[in-house]
């Protein structure tokens, strides 16, 4: 059942690096991360790989396999031909630290800018009442394991370094959508989604949805609804006219 897998693994750091050829024995049912671990244990003890749960639940082991951003722990070797060379590189959107490990602090910095949750007060009996249909949209977004594959594949920052300042990325749009749809949230975050997170930079080309290992419909269920809410707030001619005439903030619409 086992065979020798040909791999190319990027090794290096900020000063440079290259794709290094390896041949590693693999077994049936294994995933790319298994092959990398075997490399570490037998051929390259200092091969830097970030990983934790190895069950597709923590989102640590993101890399690019044959050019596509994927979780190495959820990419089974059976999707490749046995004679195919599997190329593994770090995520190409974030600064590289070493080998397959990148500096993902961009995502954490953007997370700090998301407005804090500000709920309405509790019911007199000390509970919150929410109906299942009111929480289910947010629950989809909260499936996110923060693997940052969507952040990495998004061409807005992948291909345009200068947009990192103004653009928070799909993962963070999930957060805005979650706040906007949270049944207890009292704040209005449409302006922040537009100005702070830069949702207008997204041109909904849906790569985030394509790579999401949790199959969250990021574009259809989060980004577009956020864009529509921004339209409610900023691009509705009636609201705009009303705010001109009545000199009222449109945020209380």
């Amino acid at each position: 059942m086992g065979y020798d897998l040909k791999m190319k693994v990027w090794r290096g750091d900020q000063s440079g690096g290259e794709l290094v050829d390896f041949v590693v024995p693999v077994e049936e049912g294994e995933v790319v991360l298994d092959a990398l671990h075997r490399l570490q244990a037998t051929q390259a003890g200092d091969l830097a790989v970030r990983w934790n749960c190895k069950a597709g639940k923590c989102g640590s082991c993101s890399a690019e396999i044959n050019g596509k951003p994927r979780l190495t722990c959820m990419t089974r070797l059976s999707v490749f031909q046995p004679d195919e060379t599997v190329t593994v590189t770090p995520l190409r959107t974030f600064p590289v630290i070493r080998d397959l490990v990148t500096d993902v602090s961009y995502n954490y910095e953007k997370a700090k800018k998301v407005p804090a949750f500000s709920p309405e007060p509790r019911q007199p009996d000390g509970t919150y009442r929410m109906q299942q249909e009111d929480v289910q949209r947010g629950q989809e977004f909260r499936k996110c394991i923060e693997c940052f594959l969507c952040q990495s594949v998004c061409h807005v920052v992948r291909d345009h370094e200068d947009n990192k300042e103004a653009f928070s990325g799909p993962r963070l749009f999930l957060r805005y959508a979650e706040l906007e749809m949270h049944p207890l949230e009292t704040g209005d975050h449409r302006q922040a989604a537009k100005e702070e997170a830069g949702v207008g930079l997204c041109n909904i080309t849906k790569c985030c949805t394509e790579v999401c290992p949790e199959s969250i419909k990021i574009t259809d269920n989060a980004i577009i609804p956020v864009k529509e809410r921004v339209v409610d707030r900023s691009y509705d001619p009636l609201v705009w006219l009303g705010s001109k005439i009545f000199r009222r903030s449109s945020s209380d619409q």
């Binding site: 294994e30 200092d46 804090a116």
Partner: protein
């Protein structure tokens, strides 16, 4: 040679080691109490092992069963722990868990709901009533995300991918024996390295909360991630604190067994809570053959009654599949040993023939996903193959129940790294509530203690230099042992000799082997440089794993009975005289000493709960 004055240095009131549920909850509590808090974690924020928790958070909120209350939860917890739990911890846990869960909603958590809009609660092994607040089968992720977002919103400092290798204590320059003998030895800070750069960092802090989780990575088949190397256990030992109940290691009955690369990955207990049953190769629901006397009264003995329980819990007793985890794990182990296992050495867990496709996909989405992606198995159409996997260590740092403080002043522990709460066996769902209840208590207590602490003298340069030298030692050697090989051998030893079923001979052999491994670990050499070097990281973690493994083996050898997560083939019965004894491990020079301590006495009003039905 490292120059201490060139090392990055920070000062805080409360230092929290670990950013799982307990660590983050402690950080929030300490911050709210006005302390300057730092969280240090080995991985990125939000990746902690808490995300792996699936089933739910046990809390007697009585949203589904008005009959439920903290007394019932307390009683279930103590019985599940075979009465070896610290009664006060079990009591605080049962009393405070509902508030801790509700609080999460205030921070944005979205639990599944009941029809009248309250938090829905599900059934789980060992819990008398449906009690687990949950979000599908990804409750841990919800919990960690909620706490993570709260932590970020409060602006708490988080040091990610930073590993603590040493705690500093006052009077440390003297020998360790003197240090422990003197009343001094209070915590003054911690030494850590950045994974990214390999550079060192020193934290000055009068209090440290350990929230480092468990030890599973010492076992071959485990549901735990690489981080679970017993760092907190080892740091506490080294600081002079004791570890309690270390012989009790929980093997979750249902881990994946195939394909080999995913062996050990958890299959949530909710599969059984939602109707799944265990069958052997003959198709028999074998759990009916393994109902122990202790649980006979409350467990169904026919399939009809067991199946009726899902619909009407008042008129039926619980299915035996929902016995506490230790019972189920042992039963599976026996079936496999008797030759009635599945093709890949497990048993069958079948929900496909019992529930509709829609139901399974709605209630167990991540299980469906996990089997589909990793094993090519459609759990809505065919049974899963499952077997026991090392999941949780009941043992941990002995702490004061109300504050989480260990015997060392300024050193706190919460969550899996703390011991006592779960006794001999933990009930499913009690871990997430444990994190919240004792995370908060430890964080608040540490913050309060920090304000009382006199200004610290600061960590001495000598201590810093010694810590740096110890951390760099593997780079000094050439052509020595490979860290990965030593780890594999350690996992084999623990799996084969100190696993689910134990005997004196095997454990004595294990202790010998561990001794040899310790020598080999001291000869590990590391290739490459300090920057993000997993071989180096592992060589440092290995020292902790070896310490903790020795604790487990020694305590397990000492306890000559079977109870909860500790099963002796040579002493198969539960022995009442052992029911009043806790084993404590301490560090004695370079080896581990075990001493017996009487179980804390439960007050009468609580004891009475066990006499009522």
């Amino acid at each position: 040679m490292t120059d201490p004055s060139s090392i990055e240095r920070h000062s805080y009131d409360v230092l929290i080691v670990g950013a799982g549920g307990a660590g983050l909850r402690a950080a929030i509590a300490a911050h709210e109490a006005g302390a300057r808090v730092a969280v240090i974690c080995k991985s990125l924020l939000g990746k902690a092992h808490t995300v792996m928790a699936e089933g739910g958070i046990a809390a007697a909120m009585a949203n589904v069963w008005p009959e439920d209350g903290w007394q019932v939860h307390f009683r279930d917890t103590m019985r599940g722990g075979k009465m070896l739990n610290h009664w006060r911890m079990a009591q605080l846990h049962a009393q405070e868990a509902p508030d801790r869960v509700q609080e999460l909603e205030e921070w944005g958590a979205l639990f599944d709901r009941t029809a009248d809009g309250l938090i829905s609660q599900r059934d789980f092994g060992g819990h008398r009533y449906a009690r687990l607040a949950h979000v599908g089968d990804r409750t841990g992720l919800e919990l960690i995300r909620t706490l993570q977002q709260r932590t970020v919103a409060l602006g708490i400092d988080v040091y990610m991918e930073c590993t603590v290798t040493k705690l500093f204590q006052s009077g440390q320059a003297t020998s360790s024996a003197e240090k422990r003998a003197s009343a001094d030895g209070r915590i003054t800070g911690a030494f850590a390295y950045w994974r990214e750069s390999g550079r060192f960092v020193v934290f000055d802090a009068p209090t440290v909360v350990l929230a480092t989780g468990g030890i599973g990575k010492s076992y071959k088949v485990t549901s735990n991630s690489w981080e679970y190397t017993g760092d907190g256990h080892a740091l506490a030992l080294q600081a002079g604190a004791s570890l309690v109940n270390m012989e009790f290691v929980q093997f979750h009955p249902t881990g994946m067994v195939w394909p080999p690369s995913v062996k050990g990955i958890l299959v949530t207990e909710s599969v059984r809570g939602d109707g799944g049953v265990l069958r052997n190769s003959e198709g028999r629901r074998f759990m009916f053959d393994y109902i122990p006397e202790f649980f006979k009264a409350e467990t169904a003995d026919t399939e009809e009654e067991a199946d009726g329980w899902y619909e009407d819990k008042a008129k039926h007793r619980r299915p035996p599949e929902l016995l506490p985890r230790d019972e189920v794990a042992r039963a599976i182990n026996s079936e496999v040993k008797a030759g009635r296992g599945s093709p890949h050495g497990g048993v069958f867990l079948d929900i496909a023939s019992r529930r509709s496709v829609e139901y399974i996909q709605r209630r167990l989405p991540s299980m469906y996903h996990q089997f589909k992606e990793l094993a090519d198995v459609d759990i809505t159409a065919e049974p899963m193959e499952v077997g026991p996997t090392c999941h949780y260590v009941m043992g941990g740092v002995a702490v004061d129940p109300d504050t989480g403080e260990s015997a060392i002043p300024g050193l706190y522990a919460a969550g899996e790294v703390a011991g006592g709460m779960h006794g001999a066996n933990r009930l499913g769902g009690n871990s997430l509530s444990d994190l919240l209840v004792f995370g908060k208590r430890a964080g608040a207590a540490a913050a309060e203690a920090a304000t009382r602490a006199e200004p610290a003298a600061g960590v001495s340069d000598d201590d810093v230099r010694a810590a740096a030298e110890a951390a760099l030692a593997p780079f000094e050697r050439q052509g020595g042992e490979n860290a990965y090989t030593v780890q594999q051998d350690l996992q084999d030893v623990m799996h084969n000799l100190v696993g689910i079923i134990r005997t004196a001979d095997e454990m004595e052999k294990a202790l010998q082997d561990l001794g040899k491994l310790r020598e080999r670990a001291q000869q590990i050499s590391v290739e490459g440089h300090r920057q993000y070097n997993p071989g180096w990281h592992l060589s440092l973690d290995l020292a902790n794993m070896l310490r903790v493994s020795e604790c487990i083996a020694r305590a397990a050898l000492e306890r000559t009975e079977s109870r909860g997560g500790h099963t002796r083939d040579d002493f198969p019965a539960t022995d009442d005289s052992w029911g009043a004894v806790n084993l404590h491990c301490t560090l004695d020079g370079e080896s581990i000493a075990v001493r017996r301590e009487p179980l804390p006495t439960m007050p009468d009003d609580l004891r009475q709960l066990f006499e009522e039905k």
